[in-house]
């Protein structure tokens, strides 16, 4: 374990963003006055002094080889004065000073990188996702692959920007920790079983922490036959969240045979109009069907089709369902409404219909 004693400087902090700004960004920092959408995936931002900065947004798979990153750099060197940025949804934004460079850049982005241009306006932008089987220690499903499969299906909605009432943000999570975040549409994994304890692994976990992390107090210490302290789970209390699994890997929550996927709708973080909202359970029990999860894709497609037909302009999915009501949502989509859609958490009552308002 001996390491080199000569050490690089520590605590450098964040790289200087000023050195990484496109020259027109640096020159017009804080002095932008308007923007226009030129076509799907292409924006122009106008500065007070008349400067115009063009942005071409392209969808990336997020997981990139160093060579792919260099290819991206090659294009940015050729057309973008050597500058680009990424969005929070893993889109690459090529920044151009010259309008004439837009077409040749898009051609190279499409052909050399194989990246589509789009994701602006009322489109489906890139899906934010977690690591999944590629690099996480807890996942019950993949993310990069299911996202690739889903974006193949939603490609048209990425490259156009007027086919939907409003923008649709999608996230994907691989376990019930749900790192994927709130979104208009979210694909989440569901476990259906309390953790199964691997007795041989219990000894190396900090047992009080495992007991304490359970949000429903379903885990308690127990003496095994040899008098050693181990753990047991009260099945009736357990809600299969897997919080203990992150704390102690021996609390195996996953089950390749029974884990399923569910679709949640209506999450929004922007404070526009009525403000942020949480997503709600819409479809459950979809199989974890590698390599393309067609049942998930079909359900998302169904939701989008109905949203396109009945949503109003600027109405995000959550606002749309709020307006038409969940009864009509289930009617229009054909998805079954079940008792599992009714919340049973301590906050459940806030989701009950406490008026006589009903859609008949």
């Amino acid at each position: 374990m001996a390491r080199a004693k000569k050490m690089a400087p520590r605590d450098n902090g964040a790289p200087d963003y000023k050195k990484n700004l496109h020259p027109l960004m640096a020159k017009n920092y804080g002095k932008w006055s308007y923007h226009e959408k030129l076509r799907p995936g292409v924006l122009v931002h106008g500065a007070e002094n008349g400067d115009r900065l063009y942005t071409v947004r392209a969808g990336s798979p997020r997981t990139l080889s160093v060579d792919k990153v260099r290819q991206i750099c090659d294009i940015a060197d050729k057309y973008c004065q050597g500058h680009l940025r990424f969005t929070s949804r893993a889109n690459v934004e090529f920044l151009l000073a010259n309008e004439a460079d837009i077409d040749p850049l898009i051609k190279e982005v499409n052909e050399t990188l194989g990246f589509p241009v789009g994701g602006t306006g009322h489109s489906i932008s890139n899906i934010v996702h977690t690591q999944g089987w590629l690099h996480c220690n807890l996942p019950g499903t993949d993310a990069a692959g299911s996202v690739k499969a889903l974006m193949d299906l939603l490609y048209e909605e990425f490259v156009t920007d007027d086919s939907l009432p409003a923008r649709v943000k999608i996230s994907a999570s691989c376990c019930q920790i749900n790192c994927g975040g709130q979104a208009d549409i979210s694909i989440n994994l569901q476990h259906h079983h309390p953790p199964r304890i691997k007795p041989e692994g219990v000894g190396v976990c900090e047992l009080p922490k495992v007991v304490a992390i359970c949000p429903v107090a379903a885990i308690r210490p127990r003496q095994d036959e040899t008098g050693k302290t181990t753990l047991e789970v009260v099945d009736e209390k357990c809600m299969y969240c897997g919080a203990c699994h992150g704390q102690c890997p021996t609390m195996e929550i996953r089950d390749a045979k029974t884990d399923t996927l569910s679709i949640w709708l209506g999450g929004k973080t922007a404070s526009t109009r009525k403000g942020p909202s949480f997503m709600r359970l819409a479809v459950w029990g979809l199989p974890n069907n590698t390599p393309r999860w067609p049942e998930v894709g079909a359900a998302v497609r169904k939701i989008l089709d109905v949203y396109k037909q009945t949503g109003r302009p600027y109405e995000r999915i959550g606002e749309w369902v709020d307006r038409i009501g969940w009864k009509r949502f289930f009617e229009l989509t054909g998805f079954p409404f079940t008792k599992y859609h009714i919340d049973d958490s301590p906050l459940a009552r806030s989701t009950f219909n406490t008026s006589s308002h009903v859609r008949l």
Partner: protein, 506 residues
């Protein structure tokens, strides 16, 4: 890498045993909820599946299958050329399917990387195994670079015997430039350093906002980190620490940005770089910074402390542009999509002119988004500071709630007010929170009122949507004795009394 005690191979998966046996769940379909559910809309799925297949795989004719097969063989030959023996051929038959379709394929890209980095081929092999078994083969561990308590997400493969080059396969989190802006020189430097030491995979970016560098082993993690730090890069946060910050593009390219998100992010990062690198909190703490209520950084729900740009006073209205917009889109459009969408009904259209009741405007940005040339935010700008957002684990999602309705954040002196508040919160939360308790969970447990007392903030009506409806209240000022100006229930005073009684007695 001997036989690990925690290894889980397919043949001894936990669904075959363990002390919580419930054989019925693992085996039969009786309680498998998706079976019933799928049957209920099975018809839909069946018909869609055909459609799906066509859409997913527009080239799914025989010729193309043949073409893909040849391509695959070609790749395997290349793999052989890269030092893999033929009997150890890597099976990627399942994930090969993800090479087709219009969306860019990470499988295709990584396969091309695998021709020079054998570890990447083995990574794909393991991923394919996961696709076949629907099971994960990474084990988490801890690895720290000297002086750091986080920043490396360390993984051991449980299939190391089959895939020795990914026995140790770690991620280094790197702090990106604020707003994820890069010069190509910056990115190329990162690529060159990373390729030298690792399998050469980069994710731009992780969910928190870090640059993720994948594919180093125990030793090369240290070597790569040293070289990266030599070039001015630094590790991101992990564990119970301040996490790497994220912000929108802000004033670098957006006329809506009401605060300098990039500068604020960089300032917080560098001020608290020790808290970011050396975990000392009850649990993680995230800031995200958005220049306006559109919240492009997803701060409201994805961070413990969102900072959202806003303004005081009147909105700016260019009535000439309003006229142009109404002429272009029609008054009906403006009424349907702007006027009636205002959450507080504070905007109206009269004679092709917009009027705004600024006292009731909640700065939601909707009308400005739609009519962005005619309407602009006001000139007295600052931020709303919120607290307590997080994702599901453990009590369910929490949305952030208002902590400071308006704070100027234009100058470094303004930023000091922010960091002063942050430090008070960290001190109070750090002292009283349970382990693994996010600040939002902590507030849920102790109450927002107690939290405000603890961090020294006055209650403000903008912190709530409505006062309580629950009438059972402990009014400190109205407790027995307090009305007459006596000590009441002040525990400190009671203790003094008890002590003085004891001393009198003895």
């Amino acid at each position: 890498m001997g036989g690990g005690f925690r290894r889980v191979y397919p043949e001894n998966r936990p669904d075959h045993g363990g002390i919580n046996k419930d054989e019925g769940l693992g085996e039969s379909g009786a309680r498998r909820p998706h079976v019933a559910s799928l049957q209920q809309f099975g018809g839909l799925l069946e018909s869609k599946r055909v459609y799906l297949h066509l859409l997913v795989n527009p080239y799914s004719c025989a010729i193309n299958f043949a073409f893909r097969y040849i391509k695959r063989i070609g790749w395997q030959n290349q793999m052989k050329g890269s030092g893999m023996s033929s009997e150890n051929k890597i099976n990627t038959s399942m994930i090969d399917d993800l090479e087709s379709g219009p969306w860019p394929s990470f499988v295709k890209d990584l396969k091309s990387l695998a021709t020079k980095k054998p570890a990447v081929g083995q990574l794909l092999g393991q991923l394919n195994q996961s696709y076949e078994d629907r099971w994960n083969y990474w084990q988490g561990t801890v690895l720290n670079v000297d002086g750091y308590g986080g920043g490396v997400i360390a993984r051991y493969s449980e299939l190391a015997e089959k895939y020795p080059d990914i026995a140790q396969f770690h991620t280094i989190r790197i702090i990106p430039p604020a707003g994820w802006v890069y010069s190509t020189a910056t990115l190329r430097e990162l690529c060159d350093i990373w390729e030298k030491h690792s399998a050469g995979i980069i994710q731009l970016h992780g969910m928190t906002g870090d640059i993720l560098l994948l594919g180093s082993d125990n030793k090369s993690t240290f070597d790569a980190a040293e070289e990266l730090m030599e070039h001015g890069w630094d590790l991101g946060g992990s564990g119970a620490a301040l996490r790497t910050l994220a912000c929108c593009v802000g004033q670098a390219r957006c006329e809506m940005a009401l605060i300098d998100t990039m500068a604020i992010q960089t300032h917080i990062t560098n001020t608290y770089i020790s808290e970011l690198h050396r975990p000392e909190f009850p649990y993680k703490y995230k800031f995200k910074i958005s220049g306006c209520a559109n919240d492009c950084a997803c701060a409201m729900q994805r961070s413990d402390m969102p900072i959202i740009g806003t303004w005081r006073g009147p909105m700016q209205i260019d009535q000439a542009e309003v006229g142009k917009f109404v002429d272009g889109h029609g008054a009906d459009f403006v009424i349907d999509n702007v006027i009636t969408r205002c959450p507080t009904n504070c905007i109206s259209l009269k004679d092709n002119q917009i009027e705004v009741d600024d006292d009731n405007c909640v700065r939601c940005m909707h009308c400005i988004n739609v009519m962005h040339k005619a309407l602009k935010p006001g000139k007295d700008r600052g931020a709303t500071i919120l607290i307590g957002g997080k994702r599901t684990l453990k009590i369910g999602d929490t949305m952030s709630s208002v902590l400071v309705p308006f704070m100027k954040l234009q100058t470094e002196e303004d930023w000091e007010k922010l960091t002063d508040l942050v430090e008070r919160i960290w001190e109070f939360w750090g002292e009283h929170a349970l382990e693994h308790e996010r600040v939002g969970e902590f507030i849920n447990r102790i109450g927002l009122g107690a939290f405000l007392d603890g961090v020294g903030l006055e209650p403000h009506p903008e912190m709530i949507t409505a006062p309580r409806s629950n009438p059972y209240i402990k009014f400190e000022e109205l407790a027995p004795g307090m009305l007459e100006g006596e000590s009441g229930h002040d525990p400190a005073v009671v203790n003094e009394e008890v002590e003085s009684m004891e001393s009198t007695n003895s």
